[in-house]
Amino acid sequence: MSRRRPRNRILQWVVRSGPDDPIYNLWLLSGPLLIVLVAVVGKNAVTTLLAAGYVVGFITHTAYNAFETTGRPGWIRRP
């Protein structure tokens, strides 16, 4: 139990704090892990591919998200 609790807190924080998008949540959690992997393993084809995939994935998802969302979400408040 004691080992699971902090992990849940991090997950809860990620889910509650972000823009309510599971893909971004995944990106947020995997980013620091990928950086640690790169720091430990160093530069090789796999880490380069993973890092490039991470960055390209982020940009692609953001662009897709932006162009796909038509109409203004109701939660945006205007004065």
């Binding site: 980013g31 991470y54 932006a66 979400p73």
Partner: protein, 515 residues
């Protein structure tokens, strides 16, 4: 200040110190990983001091009332200074550990950079520069610092970056306050969440995601991973501290410079706008007045700087490369420098017209609600539109209904005048503090050592929380009075003046000096 004010401020300050202490103690991981075991005792002691004081304060004032607008501003002003003071302890402790070489600790040889940090004023300067996201430094060679101190410098800027977003989007943005009015007029009331706590959470969320992307981008562009981690943190927070002597110019890599451009620009865009974009509202980006002005000023300013630099570089491509990077770095308040050795032309050798173009960028700054410094684009927009609004009075009869349009807000005559007045007051105070420091430097620097435009450049860099330097800032080159003035400039600039004025008034008036 009376007890009604002291108690909430004391409690919140106590919590801030506890968090700071936790950050310092948590940084022990870095010397453990890098084998810099001699740094651990100094780091632990540096962390325990604020934790102890913070515990005492937060316990003593545990029953204090909820903070109001006044408390928020006083906490911001006093807290930022206190954080800088206690945040200087790791510099001092580790520098003294290396200098004194205690038995049993395998310390490295003391370098000039380490020796400089044994001076408490230099350590405070470094800490204030970090927490305000300025990036001016008392260290001659950042590469010669222990990894632990390189990390701590980056952490100060990263945490300070989040701090200033919270300050502008949550603490200053209170109902009825001028900052809210100003912020609303620009960001269209896009407070991320109704409460400060959820705002902080969301900002951290975005910040961590952007930092990860920045780090991996820099690594892919060719930076070693340790450098990428530190530059990613200081880039997205538009801080500008480096871990290598000569800043970004030391890499002499076009790829790294190109990758840093969007990172710096992202740091200069209001974070609520980033949140909108992540939620799929692209109009949040191009529909935001500050973002549009940022794009416009970046394009026009970079083109002008390119023009000014082309004769000096003797190369259109060279002037474009260094001009664009330095203008983006100045306007977004990052302070990364490429025009350093071994670049063909260091920044101090640039023509006066180029220096003044950068001074303009450093004074204006980027968007309110971002990590950038300076006056902020919303105030520039308000001043430009407000002047036009005031002048138009003359040409119309009194019965005419005057409206001031700022983005999608329409302000009547009274609202428009109030917001314009607030922007004008902040701009005026900004210039007053700038000029005061110019006098300090003119009085204390050796006669004729630096031309006036370089002095202006350095002070605008400090007060705008930028970090670009023409070489005046340094442990030996900057006189003690100049260091004190710069510390105050950085503090004043970061807090956008108003909270400091409010704190001084609270100290004088509520403290009973006038009673």
């Amino acid at each position: 200040m009376n007890t009604d004010t002291v108690a909430p401020v004391g409690r919140d300050l106590g919590w801030m110190l506890r968090v700071l202490g936790g950050l310092i103690v948590g940084s022990v991981l870095v010397p453990l990983v890098w084998g810099e075991y001699y740094a651990i005792p100094g780091l632990v002691v540096s962390g325990l001091v604020p934790i102890t004081i913070g515990l005492a304060l937060s316990t003593a004032f545990a029953d204090a009332d909820s903070p109001d607008k006044l408390h928020g501003m006083v906490v911001a002003a006093v807290g930022w200074f206190a954080i800088a003071v206690f945040g200087s302890l790791p510099f001092l402790m580790i520098a003294w550990t290396v200098t004194l070489t205690p038995e049993g600790l395998a310390t490295p040889p003391a370098t000039d950079s380490i020796n400089a940090l044994t001076n408490p004023l230099n350590a405070l300067f470094e800490s204030m520069s970090g927490f305000t996201g300025t990036g001016l430094t008392m260290v001659d060679d950042e590469g010669a610092l222990p990894r632990t101190l390189q990390w701590w410098r980056s952490v100060t800027e990263w945490v300070g970056g989040v701090g200033v977003i919270v300050l502008t989007t949550a603490i200053l943005a209170r109902p009825g306050s001028g900052s809210l009015t100003l912020y609303e007029s620009e960001a269209r009331s896009r407070k991320i969440h109704p409460s400060i706590i959820s705002t902080v959470r969301t900002i951290w969320w975005i910040f961590v995601l952007f930092t990860s992307v920045s780090i991996l981008l820099l690594w892919l562009a060719g930076m070693p991973i340790w450098h990428a981690i530190n530059h990613g943190m200081t880039g997205i927070s538009t801080g500008g501290f480096s871990v290598i002597d000569g800043s970004i110019g030391a890499y002499d890599s076009v790829a790294i410079e190109i990758v840093l451009l969007p990172i710096m620009i992202a740091g200069g865009i209001a974070f609520p706008v980033h949140y909108l974009v992540l939620r799929g509202d692209l109009e949040g980006l191009y529909g935001d007045l500050q973002t549009r002005w940022l794009a416009g000023v970046l394009l026009v300013g970079s083109a002008l700087l390119w023009l000014f630099l082309t004769p000096a570089y003797g190369s259109v491509a060279g002037a474009l490369r260094y001009g664009v990077f330095q203008f983006v770095s100045a306007l977004t308040a990052t302070g990364f420098q490429t025009a350093t050795q071994p670049a063909p032309l260091p920044i101090e050798a640039w023509p006066a017209s180029a220096h003044l173009a950068l001074v303009f960028a450093m004074i204006v700054g980027a968007a309110a609600g971002s990590t950038a410094g300076g006056l902020k684009l919303i105030r520039l927009a308000m001043l430009v539109k407000g002047i036009r609004f005031r002048v138009s009075y003359v040409f119309y009869p009194d019965s005419t209904v005057h409206r001031l349009r700022i983005d999608d807000r329409v302000l009547d005559r009274e609202e428009g005048s109030r917001e314009f007045g607030e922007a004008a007051i902040i701009a005026l105070l900004w210039v007053v503090f700038l000029v005061a420091s110019v006098f300090v430097l003119l009085l204390t620097l050796p006669d004729g050592a630096y031309p006036l435009e370089m002095i202006l450049f350095e002070i605008a860099s400090a007060q705008g929380n930028i970090g670009l330097s023409t070489g005046i800032t340094g442990p030996e080159s900057l006189p003690t009075a100049g260091k004190v003035a710069f510390i105050l400039n950085m503090w004043i600039g970061r807090l956008e003046i108003l909270p400091i004025v409010v704190t001084i008034r609270a100290l004088l008036w509520r403290g009973g000096i006038y009673e």
